[in-house]
């Protein structure tokens, strides 16, 4: 029992980004019924500003690392890195959402409020140092995104997506919770640091069967959230059905946060038993890459293709977790940053191509894009080459660091199979380039208007950063390297 039950001002500062976003989210809910149908744009502006302010707060909090609220939160470099990452992702998602919502006639404060709540959950996932806190963060983020997935409630696909996501998601979270309960039953604590200490201490003779089962149960929950095999089945359907900006949000922001908590739990609490979970994750990593890449080969729908590709990328990230080293953690952080950039760019283009009612999300709708909108096509090529892992793009260094970490930990076969996987992936990314550059536009194709400002900013900024990180990766990598050590 701590001597003083009241949190200090310092602890409140460490929780400031979340506090701000919750306040703004609630404010948006209150303002929503008060504003007329034409005044919805201001909600986007407010939430954008709130996220920007939250980034400032997160950095300020990161200047003074340490625990908060009796060790429930741990604001270390790792947490700060991921907080900033998910906040930036949130900002870009707002940029690509505004015009989309306007076209669909569903612009409202509710959307942005839900987005903010989900981001709060993601920030908590990144910073929590306690299984209970982690669960709350996860639920906060998930429940908001269940609603977002079905946001266009008159749309059948949206409904299907939301329902699937909700049912399977709650099932997986139940597994996670069960694992938490088992862990608590064995170790008598839910604090990650304390669990680690318990498992490290030889005097305790922890029952390895129970610990192993607890880890496995929690793995189910994590694997679901990061869409890793064999719990990836929901992702294609959900990603295809949800509104495109929400898909971007789920497949980038939620994924980054889920990986943050996954890495933290595995690298702190369960690190002492790493020999037990390493083979499990080894297999899962390989299966995830292979399933994602092979399934993506045969897709004709752009969103579904990106869904499978995001599964494959989760597989590469799992390779880094299998390496369970600080370099591995740093490479996860770098990869997620570069993945976020290129995916945001790619989804911005998907939103742009899809137009009202998402009528144009087939790969063939890209035909002749290089002649219709040369700049958009060229930027898409940058993102696709980055997904493929061609040098001078962020994706290349992402893969490079991951496989380097794997080889550092003597995972030679996993590295070889992973690299071969990325050669397979080249096929379906190149196919998009083929359609854009080597096929003529379809006869009587509807005219493509120039992209709106939000889309254009997103595309250009993410493309510039993708290239910049591909030439000078040190900036993010050094940051990741410094933050990869967990405060335990």
């Amino acid at each position: 029992m701590p001597a003083n039950f009241m949190p200090t001002a310092q602890e409140y500062l460490r929780f400031a980004p979340e506090s701000l976003l919750i306040l703004v989210g609630v404010l948006l809910m209150i303002l929503e019924p008060l504003s007329g149908p034409d005044g919805k744009r201001k909600f986007a502006v407010i939430s954008f500003a709130a996220l920007a302010a939250a980034i400032g707060l997160a950095i300020a909090a990161g200047m003074d690392p340490g625990p908060a609220f009796s060790g429930l939160l741990m604001v270390d470099g790792f947490a700060t890195f991921f907080r900033v990452l998910v906040l930036v992702i949130g900002m870009f998602v707002i940029l690509i959402s505004t015009n989309y919502l306007k076209l669909e006639g569903h612009e409202s404060g509710e959307y942005y409020a839900l987005l903010l709540f989900s981001v709060v959950g993601q920030c908590l996932m990144a910073a929590s140092n306690d299984l209970i806190m982690l669960f709350i963060g996860l639920e906060c983020s998930s429940i908001a995104s269940y609603v977002l997935a079905g946001y266009l409630r008159d749309d059948k696909r949206n409904n299907e997506s939301a329902l699937k996501y909700f049912l399977l998601g709650s099932f997986a979270t139940a597994f996670l919770l069960y694992g938490v309960a088992w862990t608590y039953g064995t170790t008598g604590t839910t604090n990650l640091t304390a669990i680690r200490a318990y498992l490290m201490d030889p005097a305790h003779h922890a029952n390895m069967v129970v610990v192993g089962a607890a880890t496995a149960l929690m793995f189910v929950g994590f694997a679901f959230k990061v869409s890793a095999a064999p719990f990836q089945m929901w992702a294609p359907d959900v990603y295809q059905g949800a509104p495109a900006p929400v898909t971007a949000f789920m497949s980038i922001g939620s994924k980054a946060a889920a990986f943050a908590m996954f890495v933290r739990v595995m690298m702190t609490a369960f690190e002492p038993v790493k020999d037990r979970w390493e083979p499990l994750i080894w297999i899962s990593a390989l299966a995830t890459m292979t399933i994602g890449n092979c399934a993506a080969l045969r897709q004709s729908n752009l969103k579904r293709l990106l869904a499978y590709s995001s599964i494959a990328h989760a597989g590469y990230l799992m390779v880094a977790i299998t390496a369970h080293s600080e370099i591995g953690t740093a490479s996860v952080m770098f990869y997620l940053t570069s993945y976020a950039l290129m995916s945001l760019g790619a989804f911005a283009i998907v939103v742009y191509i899809a137009r009202k009612g998402e009528r144009f999300v087939e790969i063939n709708d890209l035909a002749g894009l290089s002649q219709r909108q040369p700049l958009v096509a060229a930027l898409f090529v940058i993102f696709l080459l980055s997904f493929t892992g061609i040098p001078l793009t962020a994706g290349f260094f992402g893969k490079f660091y991951i496989f380097k970490a794997a080889l550092d930990s003597n995972l030679v076969w996993l590295a070889i199979l992973g690299m071969l996987n990325s050669a397979v992936a080249a096929y379906y990314y190149l196919r998009l380039i083929v359609v854009m550059y080597m096929q003529p536009p379809a006869e009587g194709a509807e005219e493509l208007l120039a992209p709106t400002i939000g889309i254009r900013v997103t595309m250009l900024v993410t493309a510039a950063l993708t290239i910049a990180l591909g030439i000078f990766p040190s900036f993010i990598l050094d940051l990741a390297g410094k933050s990869a050590a967990f405060a335990r």
Binding site: I390, L407, V412, A415, L420, V434, S474, L477
Partner: protein, 508 residues
């Protein structure tokens, strides 16, 4: 600033500037890119002096940090091995620019931009002294070629472009793993430094390790060369590419593979290279004969020339894996010869295509009466390609065969069959295309060479003769390098290192 930096900056800047030129003024774009490539070529001639001044050593070294951790350095240098390959690339770029002058009318800006990007990629590969940098340029050279084949190629271009990309990608994936593994062992990507560490016994690879690493690199290079039976992407890519693409692919991109063998596989893994030499030579000879036999039955001229490349590149690999002074000299010389003569063949076939809009041999006949000068040029190039003395290919093939005899007489005997077969398929094609009766369609569509075409072909023919007669103008730096390489390969590992290697084997 180092001269080599400028060599890279010229095409890079040209590429970026081309992107900003107005799209609707193709003339300006052509002239601009032609200008840039000529400047790059002239500039690259300045590099000869410094390299000749320091035979067998790296000249014009530039070494600065790119990424702190892992220690990736921008380390470039030039030696006798890369010098002529660099000049070959810069020499061919203005030529293919001229070749495409009329042929490419569609999306001109993108075409020429990709051409300069391609030049940047290959130059980078040839001068990189850091494995990571090498890999980066290696992959960069892939992307523009993919577009050149895929956008401006013939009917099956998309299939060919994809196949080309995926084959190379699969090979380079394993190469990257090997590069990282080597880094984790040694802490550096720097090739000269790695060699130094090996010579001093500070980096010791067990036999199995160096064997696997060798194979990983070798596979990537063998795909690019391409070595039989990994060659299947080549006829498709060459056959479908536009003329400029075929020329760059055959003359320069294939050399990346053989260059990699000499630059990386041999010096870094000499033991493994020797252990594997026999089956590699067998494959090379199989490629020589197989390529020639398949070329003989091709109805399509471009595919015929493409298969002849498989055969010629087999000679290069054979020469490399004899590990003799003559063999290596001949192999490197043959890389250049093949670049000139096969490039010229593709260009001439392209000229025929522009006139007749067909590549099928059966659509031609009696071209000699309609276009005598074109025929003359074609015949000279053919004779060079089949290895007539006084022309360039003879020198390379002779040296390689000589080396093969030194190693094993049967190697030379079988490889020599390839020389004979090459005369058969080339001359037979010449006979069917240029002699015999002249169909009406050919008669009316076969103007003789234009000024632009003369400007393209004369430098190439001149080089064929020069390289056939004036071998001494080119060979000394190559020889110096081969001597140096053989010395590195012979160097016995220091005793302590051998001991350590044995111990680490036991420890396993």
């Amino acid at each position: 600033m180092n001269l080599l930096d400028i060599l890279l900056i010229l095409p890079a800047a040209g590429f970026l500037l081309t992107l900003f030129l107005p799209k609707d003024n193709p003339g300006l774009i052509r002239n601009f890119v032609f200008g840039v490539s000529v400047v790059t070529f002239v500039f690259s001639l300045l590099l000869i002096g410094p390299v000749l001044a320091s035979p067998g050593r790296l000249a014009l070294e530039g070494n600065s940090s790119w990424i702190e951790y892992p220690a990736i350095r921008y380390h470039v240098a030039l030696d006798g091995l890369s010098l002529w390959l660099v000049i070959l690339s810069t020499f061919l770029t203005p030529i293919v620019t001229l070749v495409s002058w009329k042929y490419i009318q569609n999306r001109v800006k993108e075409f020429y931009a990709f051409l300069l990007a391609l030049l940047l990629g290959v130059l980078g590969v040839f001068i990189a002294q850091d494995l990571f940098l090498f890999f980066v340029f290696w992959e960069i050279s892939l992307v523009p070629m993919y577009f050149l084949v895929g956008i401006w190629g013939h009917d099956k271009r998309i299939y060919a472009a994809l196949k080309f990309f995926l084959y190379t990608m699969a090979g380079s994936a394993l190469m990257l793993v090997a590069i990282i593994y080597l880094y984790n062992k040694s802490g550096t990507f720097d090739i000269p430094l790695l060699l130094d560490m090996m010579a001093k016994g500070r980096l010791v690879l067990t036999g199995a390790e160096s064997n696997w690493l060798f194979l990983a690199f070798f596979l990537a290079f063998a795909i690019k060369v391409p070595l039989f039976p990994l060659h299947t992407w080549l006829p498709d890519a060459h056959g479908e590419a536009p003329t400029a693409g075929s020329v760059m692919l055959a003359s320069v991109l294939l050399k990346l593979g053989t260059y990699g063998l000499v630059r990386i596989c041999l010096p870094l893994f000499p033991g493994a290279a020797r252990d594997n030499a026999n089956w590699i030579i067998v494959l090379a000879i199989a490629g020589i004969i197989y390529g020639a036999l398949v070329a003989m039955v091709q109805p399509n001229m471009k595919r015929l020339v493409a298969y002849s490349s498989v055969s010629h590149l087999g000679f290069v690999v054979l020469g490399i894996f004899t590990f003799t002074q003559v063999g290596l000299d001949g192999a490197v010389y043959q890389m250049l010869n093949h670049g000139i003569s096969t490039g010229a063949l593709f260009i001439l076939v392209g000229m025929l295509y522009e006139r007749r809009h067909s590549l099928e041999i059966s659509d031609f006949g009696g071209v000699a009466t309609a276009a005598p000068w074109l025929t003359t040029m074609f015949v000279i190039t053919t004779l060079a390609s089949v290895g007539l003395p006084l022309l360039n290919n003879f020198v390379g093939e002779f040296l390689i065969l000589q080396a093969a005899v030194q190693v094993n007489f049967y190697y030379a005997a079988f490889a020599a069959i390839g020389v004979i077969l090459s005369a058969v398929y080339m001359l037979w094609m010449v006979q069917r295309v240029f002699y015999g009766e002249t169909p009406e369609t050919v008669k009316h569509h076969m103007p003789d060479m234009s000024t632009r075409e003369w400007a393209i072909i004369v430098p190439l023919i001149a080089l064929m003769v020069w390289m056939g007669i004036g071998t001494q103008s080119f060979l000394p730096p190559i020889s110096a390098n081969s001597t140096q390489l053989l010395q590195v390969m012979k160097q016995p590992a220091p005793p302590s290192a051998v001991q350590a290697a044995k111990e680490s084997v036991h420890a396993r």
